[in-house]
Amino acid sequence: MIMWRVRQIFVFLIPFFIWKAVLGQGGDIYGYSFAAIMTYLFGTTVLRSLVMGSRTIDLGWMINSGSLTIPLMRPFNIFSFFFIRDLADKLFNLSFMFLELPLIYLIFRPPIFLQSNPTYLLLAFGSLLLAILIYFYINIIFGSLAFWTRDIWAPRFLLMVIMEFATGAMFPLDMLPIAWQKIILLTPFPYLLYVPLKVYLGIDPLIYFHLAASLGWVIVLGLLSKLIWQRGIKSYEAEGR
């Protein structure tokens, strides 16, 4: 448990030192000063725990091992069950963050921008909720692949690699050429970290458009996950039970 949480601090290390080497002496890159980029990195660390803390990632294992049978027999909606488990996991992460965030702050002393505009705060909260739902449905879709194949680790690994880049976890996506940004914004991934953070910072010129796009992805992925689930559940054989 301790090792797992220490890793959360380590995730912050490499980007912190790279940006310190580049921007620590002052100046800016792509309009980001050291303070702005640190706020962004600090924000991604917080958002990762909240958005990407999930128990639904073990859905594939549940299908393959047959342990999905037990929740299926219970008298409640299976998606609600998965979502509540996800929320519990996020709450668990949140409890650790109260300790870790001050620790990261004390160790690295990153210059942080605290948003005080209530409109931006409200919109950022809305964007965060949509991000949670998008990630939840992505996990349902990828986990459901286990209805048809046992080798779900490779698609999940690919998803993880793509998300590391396309969510903006490595660096703000507006540092990329415009054409790349446009392509990535057509996928659901930037709405997980990049867009909520830009909304929080109040520097997203297309705030409402991006929030609408987030909502659009929630609806599309929600419908798609239900469709895939309904098809997949017909081929579920409770193997191993």
Partner: protein, 262 residues
Amino acid sequence: MKAYLRVWLKLTAQQFQSQVANARGAAILFIFSKIFRLATAFVFLFVIMDRAKLLVGYNLAQAIFILALFNLISSLTQLFMRGIYLFRQKVVDGTFDFYLLNPLNELFYSLFSNTDPLDLILFLPYLGIVVWAWIGTGFPITLLSILLIILIIVIVEIMILSWHILIISIGVRYLEVDNTIMLYRDLEKMASMPIEIYGKFGSAVLTYVFPFVLMATIPARLVFGLFSPWYLLAFALLALVQLKLSLWFWHRSLLTYSSASS
């Protein structure tokens, strides 16, 4: 030694057959994912250095060479020691008992029995990327540089073997391996960038405590003519001391093993 090689080849061939028979599609996705991940790391460097021009004194081509070297050497070490990811389970379910009874060394089975064939396949493209990045730096590829880099890889392998032995020793004692190895990987990943970015203290830690500096920055500095190869003797000595200490800790840990599960 011959027996170990024969067993390792047999085990690796079995892994390869299993991969080909059961998960060809997954293998292609995995290889693509690994190359895509490396590409995104290059993009990150391009993005930063398009504006910054220099990263702690290294230009873009040099920083890319360091990253490519790290990627090659890291995957080379991981290739042989994949067994560590399954070690905890083997202690928990009692499989480790059979390793202890086996005529071959239990460390061999614990660490080297799960060589991933996909890593083997990736070795060639990774090597190609290193050569491409090396040419990009403008420094000549000489036989002496290649031999010295091979020597560094041998030292790194000893050093990383020591750390892996230490981690599975902790696993024997406390049944904690998975998070420790991931934490170790996070630390190792710091070597993917020139270690000068971590400041004097960070560089010293990564040079003398966890000598991950050998994984990329030092071989790169050697190619750039900024490092005297004689210092490698000191690193070789350090690696041997680490190996000796880790073996000592391993044997101490084995004394606490109670085979609780079997």
